[in-house]
C-alpha cells in the first residue's frame, strides 16, 4: 500500500540471486543433473 513494503512477508533470503525461471519439471531435471555431476 502506498509504496510501503515494510509490512510484507519477504520469503527469499540470500539465495535470491541464484533463482532461475523455468518450468517445475524441468527444474527438477536440471537439479538432478547437477546433483549427479
Amino acid at each position: 500500500m502506498r509504496g510501503e513494503y515494510g509490512y510484507g512477508a519477504q520469503w527469499v533470503g540470500q539465495g535470491a540471486p541464484l533463482a532461475r525461471a523455468m518450468p517445475a519439471g524441468e527444474l527438477v531435471a536440471v537439479l538432478r543433473r547437477e546433483l549427479a555431476d
Binding site: R2, W11, G13, Q14, G15, A24, G25, V28, L31, L35
Partner: protein
C-alpha cells in the same frame, strides 16, 4: 540417503517447498513426475479445498504426494486485547491513510482444530504429510501414521527438533542456512507436545 528415497518413494532427494497459496497441483505433479517429491501446502485452504487439490494432483501423477499442514496453536479470541492492539497500531494505519479493521480474526485455521482436514487426509492418503508451526495432537499423529502416511517435520531450532521427536515424526528437515524459512516461536506450541510418547520406527 537411499533409505529416505525408499521411504518417500522418490528417485531424487529433492522436496518441492509446500508453500501454502503458491504450490499448485500442476506444479506438484510436474515435480513428482520428474522424480522428486511434489508438495501441496494446504494451510491456507479448508478440507474441501485440500480434497480438490489432492484430486487434481492424482489426475496428473501416480507418484508420491506430500501435503503440508499448519499446526499453530489455535487463536483464542479476546476482543478487549485485540481492540488494544488495533488502537496501538492505529498510527501505523494512519501513516498510510488507512483505517484499521474493526476486529481481528484468525486467517488460517490450525490443523489442530480442523477435524475435517484430518478426515480428508486419512481418506485421500497422501504418501507424505508434514507439519509446520508445531505438531498435531497425539491422536492426529497416530491416525496419520496408522493410515500408512510418512510424517515429516521442519525444525529451525533445537527446540523445534525436540518437539518433533517427541511427536514421533519420521524425519526432521533442517532448512539450509540462507533458505527462506519461518519458525514457530509460540511457547504454547511446545506445550502441546506429548512428553512421554514412545519413539517407534516409521510405520511402513
Amino acid at each position: 540417503m537411499s533409505g529416505l528415497l525408499e521411504l518417500l518413494r522418490i528417485d531424487a532427494p529433492i522436496v518441492q517447498a509446500p508453500m501454502a497459496g503458491v504450490s499448485t497441483p500442476e506444479m506438484a505433479a510436474a515435480v513428482s513426475n520428474a522424480g522428486a517429491l511434489g508438495s501441496l501446502g494446504v494451510g491456507a485452504t479448508d478440507a474441501a479445498g485440500a480434497r480438490k487439490m489432492i484430486a487434481a494432483f492424482r489426475e496428473r501423477s501416480r507418484r508420491s504426494l506430500h501435503v503440508n499442514v499448519f499446526c499453530h496453536a489455535p487463536a483464542s479470541a479476546d476482543p478487549a486485547r485485540e481492540a488494544r492492539w488495533l488502537e496501538r497500531l492505529r498510527p501505523d494505519f494512519a501513516r498510510v491513510s488507512a483505517a484499521p479493521p474493526a476486529a481481528l480474526r484468525e486467517i488460517y485455521r490450525s490443523f489442530l482444530a480442523d477435524d475435517e482436514m484430518l478426515a480428508a487426509l486419512l481418506e485421500t492418503r497422501p504418501e507424505v504429510v508434514s507439519f509446520h508451526f508445531g505438531v498435531p495432537s497425539p491422536e492426529g499423529v497416530k491416525a496419520l501414521r496408522d493410515a500408512g502416511i510418512v510424517l515429516l517435520g521442519s525444525a529451525t531450532t533445537l527446540a523445534d527438533a525436540r518437539t518433533l521427536v517427541a511427536a514421533v515424526a519420521s524425519r526432521i528437515a533442517s532448512p539450509r542456512s540462507g533458505a527462506a524459512s519461518i519458525r514457530a516461536t509460540s511457547p504454547t506450541i511446545r506445550s502441546r507436545t506429548t512428553p512421554a510418547r514412545r519413539s517407534t520406527p516409521p510405520g511402513r
